[in-house]
Symmetry: C3
């Protein structure tokens, strides 16, 4: 309609499965010429950390996830199962040629996607500015609305 299209994303999740959608949508949209902003809040702040090792998958929270080997719920709650499910998921992604979280985040940054960390949740979870990668901004709901209000696509992930 009026030149460049815009997409605004709120990224709120920090598990291995749910960090993918904002990164895939943001990098794809940027490649298509969209102006993209990703506002990271709550567990979505994990996306902006230098250390991405806190991103895991919980077998318990996803009853619909087809696991390579069926496991009863109690076994899923045993110590170590979270780490094992995370490793299995990462291996599967690698085998299928899916890019890592770090690679996708790099693609987004190169393509000009702007990442904003929610100041309120940064404070709430006691994160330090030095925990995050360079080149991001800090803001609040007003920051998000200022961009989203004129966007073609707004998604809460």
């Amino acid at each position: 309609m009026e030149g460049t299209k815009r997409m605004a994303i709120i990224a709120t999740k920090g598990t291995l499965d749910w960090v993918y959608p904002p990164l895939i949508l943001a990098s794809t949209a940027a490649a298509l010429g969209y102006d993209v902003q990703v506002f990271c809040t709550f567990y979505g702040l994990q996306l902006l950390r230098k250390d991405l090792s806190g991103i895991k998958i919980s077998p318990l929270a996803n009853p619909a996830m087809p696991m390579p080997v069926p496991m009863p719920v109690m076994v899923q709650a045993l110590p170590g199962m979270e780490a094992m499910a995370t490793m299995m998921m990462k291996n599967k992604m690698k085998a299928k040629g899916v890019a890592s979280v770090e690679e996708l985040r790099g693609l987004c940054l190169e393509a000009g996607v702007k990442f904003i960390a929610c100041q309120m949740t940064v404070d709430l979870f006691d994160f330090q500015p030095s925990d995050f990668i360079d080149g991001i901004e800090f803001g609040g709901a007003t920051t998000f609305l200022g961009f989203a209000g004129d966007s073609d696509i707004s998604l809460y992930i």
Copy 2:
């Protein structure tokens, strides 16, 4: 503005509670004359399977769900509780006259809702094209953005 309204949905969840919102919104919008596309990815692929029996509810993942009988968290993790919670939910829905997932999906298809399976997650979870119902398409983030970029409503569910 320009004739037909459009709604783009990304359906990412595969539990009994969360498969309802995309189907209810899509069928209602289609009935109101909207052009609707539902892009199914991650656990949302469950929506497109011929076999819908993988759609369950997890009592653990929903602390805010009012259960007919209060249960401590440990009991919710016992073997069999997932199946029992699913059965209880299905019975309650039936008693309240809520349509089944299969019925709602049928309504969507009849009303012209277009379903798209995310090729990347189809590959990731080792699904076969024969696992899915007929009449769907396969695509990626570009497919979604191509429709969503000109939609009146875009929702990530």
Copy 3:
């Protein structure tokens, strides 16, 4: 473009973390002059109850949540951990100066945010009209679409 901007929110979650985003976004948008409607369905009905004590946090459902003290998954499933995690989260929010759910809901109501309870899920969970605060409306997917179809921002939370 055409005067007042509009934001449509579907609030579907009822845990302590996920009731905040709709309330913060709605109150901020209303303060900026937006016309805002929040359609509450499934566990999002918790937002509209007079009694907000059902809003808890589940340590199990959020593997990405940085807990003050690391706990193995089994310990998180022990009886009492849900209540303890909820108390810890509430204390932390208070210490950081984050408004309570009740305060934020009050701000929304004062600013003219319209709350709509999904009649289908009200029936499904056997809620009574007297369970909810005054001043809300009841409706269905058609109600939501009627507003969202002409909104600048639509979010499914």
